[in-house]
């Protein structure tokens, strides 16, 4: 097979087509102007939905069948249940049992708990993954065992691809810690609370069919709804959508390594001395030991100077919640909650606001939160650590 390639603006040879679809090579920052209109799912009609608003069906299998699951479809899921996710794998287990082939799995992120997906890549249920591939899943892909070509997408790039119609989601299966029978859903409440569903919002709006899967069905209205019932086709109630102790990631403990603490300390000091850190600063705290430690040192500086961060952008952690509650942070705008303290904070603090990724990292939008922020921690690739 020959692949047509082109040298992009970054000087790298890139293909012009991936998985049979044309792709646009990088032309330089701000050079590519998209045209056309955003993608839109088909127009529905109320007459196809129950008058009483009750969209609950008997099982996930039934919901998938009703959505018309067939070969070659693109199925999206979100990652807020993290390593405790019991829903994503289930979708492909059912699809495999139904004999469906060549699906595209389009997750917002994958975790070690998703390793069983390898089985469905092997048996042909899934053709490829677009999104993130870590651990054994990543190794499987790196070894060239996946049938289709993997497409890695950043969080913002994923939202952009959905909105632009570059990826058309046939069925979004959205796990929801709390939902009502109409399909309104949120990330708090119940036994599988994950706080925010920021990465599921775009899927719910743009997918052809949307299934909400919950283990905590409450009476209408589920409020405040992050997923709006008007976009939802079916609601499925299961015993458990997640394993609670694995939903919260292990990345929110600050590092104990003295060398990394020193890096964090010096970074905070640099931010102060360079004037980047000041009263009214806006920042993201990030996850992972070192960047979290930066937040702790920054917090101390803010406290000592009597400064306040205007808002912090999530993923939220207990360290940001502490800043909020002690008065050194005005608001937390939150796309995902990383630990239990953050989940609790969303329920009790009015200024801790769920905020979808839509408005943050998507380049094809009318402004970008990331360019408005003063401080964004950046993970250094492992290879140059």
């Amino acid at each position: 097979m020959t692949v047509n390639t082109l040298k992009n603006a970054a000087g790298r040879s890139v293909p012009l087509e991936i998985n049979g679809q044309p792709v646009i090579p990088f032309m330089g920052v701000g050079k590519y102007k998209p045209n056309g209109r955003r993608y839109a799912p088909p127009i529905p009609t109320c007459s196809d939905y129950p008058d009483d608003g009750n969209k609950v069906v008997g099982s996930l299998a039934e919901a998938l069948q009703k959505c018309g699951l067939r070969d070659g479809m693109t199925i999206s899921t979100h990652h807020h249940l993290r390593d405790g996710d019991l829903v994503s794998n289930k979708v492909f287990e059912l699809a495999s049992a139904m004999g469906v082939k060549d699906l595209v799995w389009f997750p917002s992120a994958s975790f070690p708990c998703n390793n069983p997906i390898i089985k469905y890549l092997d048996d042909g249920t899934i053709n490829r993954i677009e999104g993130s591939m870590n651990g054994p899943l990543g190794r499987y892909v790196s070894e060239g065992k996946m049938k289709g070509t993997a497409v890695l997408r950043s969080h913002g790039g994923r939202v952009q691809a959905i909105q632009d119609g570059e990826v058309k989601i046939d069925i979004a299966v959205l796990a929801a810690p709390t939902a009502d029978s109409f399909g309104n859903a949120k990330g708090t409440g119940g036994t599988s609370a994950c706080g925010v569903l920021g990465y599921a919002k775009a899927d719910s709006v743009y997918a052809d069919k949307v299934i909400v899967v919950t283990d905590n069905l409450i009476d209408l209205p589920c409020f405040p709804m992050e997923i709006e019932g008007n976009y939802v086709d079916y609601v499925v109630v299961v015993d458990k959508i997640g394993i609670p102790e694995k939903i919260v990631s292990g990345t929110t403990e600050i590092t104990k390594s003295p060398d990394r603490l020193l890096i964090a300390d010096l970074t905070a000091l640099f931010l102060e001395k360079s004037g980047i850190l000041r009263d009214g600063v806006t920042m993201q705290a990030g996850a992972g030991g070192t960047s979290l430690a930066i937040a702790v040192f920054v917090h101390n500086i803010l406290k000592n100077k009597g400064w306040k961060c205007r808002f912090g952008f999530g993923g939220s952690t207990k360290h940001m919640v502490k800043m909020l509650e002690e008065g050194q942070m005005g608001y937390i705008l939150d796309a995902q909650a990383f630990d239990l303290d953050s989940v609790a904070s969303i329920e009790k603090n009015a200024s801790h606001i769920p905020y979808p990724v839509f408005n943050a990292y998507n380049y094809h939008s009318k402004g970008n939160l990331t360019s408005m922020m003063d401080i964004i921690p950046c993970k250094v690739p492992w290879s140059i650590r």
Binding site: P258, D259, L261, L262
Partner: protein, 413 residues
């Protein structure tokens, strides 16, 4: 040959920046190197080249070398190779890595020794970045943190560390072993710009004299001019009783430290957070050190997770008259430094006293008063000492008198 296969270094899931070398010297077959390393693709060739160089240096032509590497730097690999070779053949040759030019600095008798970071002598991972943590000194430890069977290889590693690791201006210290073994340690450390030798378990002036004699001997052999300072550690009841004699037993002694784990065990009592059981010993040591004109240094605080407890302990220690404490974790460094340094209130009060004294002197007054309190000459002297300390620590500019806000200065004028 004592034994057929020599093993040096460390390996295991938690080992970093180290390697284990298994060496077998043969009578034929050439050199066979089996390298297992996660950085083999990048550094495999240079590791193998180094191993060959070391073997050639010791005239070994036939050997099996198995190296299990966890990211060891060259000076570590060289140290492990040398240690393995020395288990199998008798030699006085040392395979010395280059001496880093950055390490060619000296120290002074009266420099601060608030914080000194202990580094286990056989653990390269903890040494490599140690200089970044701004401790006043680093202590490469050959004594209690090294297992008895690892003493020989630690000595070689510490020597290479002294030559190859940049400690960024920290005072370069080594804690040798007690007794005869400590005297042997000196041969591998004295020639490599060690600033200060800590002598553990000192009980009498004789202990110091033995070490000093050996140091002089080594220095004269290699014609080394720079002074090597000494810090005895007193860790027993007898040591405490003899502390003044020990403190003044050599002009090279710049500080004396107390080791409370051994001391309390010698007394047969529990070491407590309050420290009542060691109050007498610590006070006595401070007095002995002061009388001998050297710095009294306190015992380490062993709970690395308890930062509040450390802070409290440092403040109590400072109140007793100590001028420093060993650190067993880099996180302790800044707390210990800040704790022994004068705080803002002390500095402010001292500024007022010194200014009041200066103003009275200019007016020709014999008696100085600040508010309702009379100020005696020793009070002024102490205030001046605090001011000097603050200036040396960069907490106060040398020109502080002229930088005072006008109204504060005018009250005193």
């Amino acid at each position: 040959m004592k034994k057929s296969i020599a093993i040096a270094g460390n390996t295991g899931p938690k080992v970093r920046s180290d390697c284990e070398i298994a060496l077998e010297i043969n009578s034929q077959g050439g050199i066979i190197i089996d390298l297992n390393s996660k950085v083999k693709a990048l550094y495999g060739d240079s590791i193998i080249k180094l191993i060959r160089e070391v073997l050639e240096f010791y005239g070994i032509k036939h050997a099996n070398v198995k190296i299990t590497d966890s990211g060891a730097l060259s000076f570590v690999i060289a140290a492990r190779m040398e240690a393995a070779v020395k288990q199998l053949i008798k030699t006085d040759l040392d395979y010395l890595p280059d001496f880093l030019i950055e390490n060619n600095y000296s120290t002074t008798r009266d420099r601060f020794r608030f914080s000194r970071l202990y580094l286990p002598g056989n653990n390269p991972a903890l040494m490599i970045n140690a200089g970044l943590h701004s401790a006043d000194g680093i202590i490469l430890d050959l004594e209690d943190s090294v297992a008895p069977e690892k003493k020989n290889e630690a000595r070689i590693l510490v020597r290479n560390a002294l030559r190859q690791i940049n400690f960024f201006g920290a005072e370069r210290m080594v804690r040798i072993n007690h007794g005869e073994r400590g005297l042997e340690d000196l041969h591998q450390v004295i020639p490599h710009n060690v600033h200060l030798v800590l002598i553990p378990k000192c009980e009498s002036a004789e202990d110091i004299k033995d070490v000093e004699k050996e140091i002089s001997r080594i220095k004269s052999v290699i014609d080394l001019k720079n002074q090597v300072f000494l810090m005895p550690i007193i860790e027993s009841a007898l040591g405490v009783e003899n502390s003044f004699d020990i403190a003044r037993s050599s002009e090279n002694i710049v500080a004396v430290a107390i080791g409370l784990e051994d001391y309390t065990s010698d007394l047969g009592v529990q070491r407590t957070f309050e420290g009542k059981e060691s109050f007498y010993a610590r006070t006595r040591l401070v007095v002995a050190a002061r009388a001998a004109g050297i710095q009294p240094i306190d015992s380490v605080f062993s709970d690395v997770a308890d930062m509040e407890g450390l802070k409290e302990t440092v403040l109590r220690s400072k109140a007793l008259g100590f001028e420093g404490m060993g650190c067993i974790h880099p996180r302790q460094v800044s707390i210990i430094r800040q704790g022994y340094a004068p705080d803002e209130t002390e500095i402010e009060k001292s500024k007022k006293i010194v200014l009041a004294y200066e103003s009275a002197r200019q007016k020709g007054l014999g008696v100085v008063a600040l508010g309702s309190k009379m100020i005696d000459p020793p009070v002024v002297a102490r205030a001046q000492k605090t001011i000097d300390l603050a200036i040396r620590l960069g907490l106060l500019t040398a020109n502080w008198v002229n930088e005072m806000p006008v109204q504060e200065n005018s009250v005193l004028n």
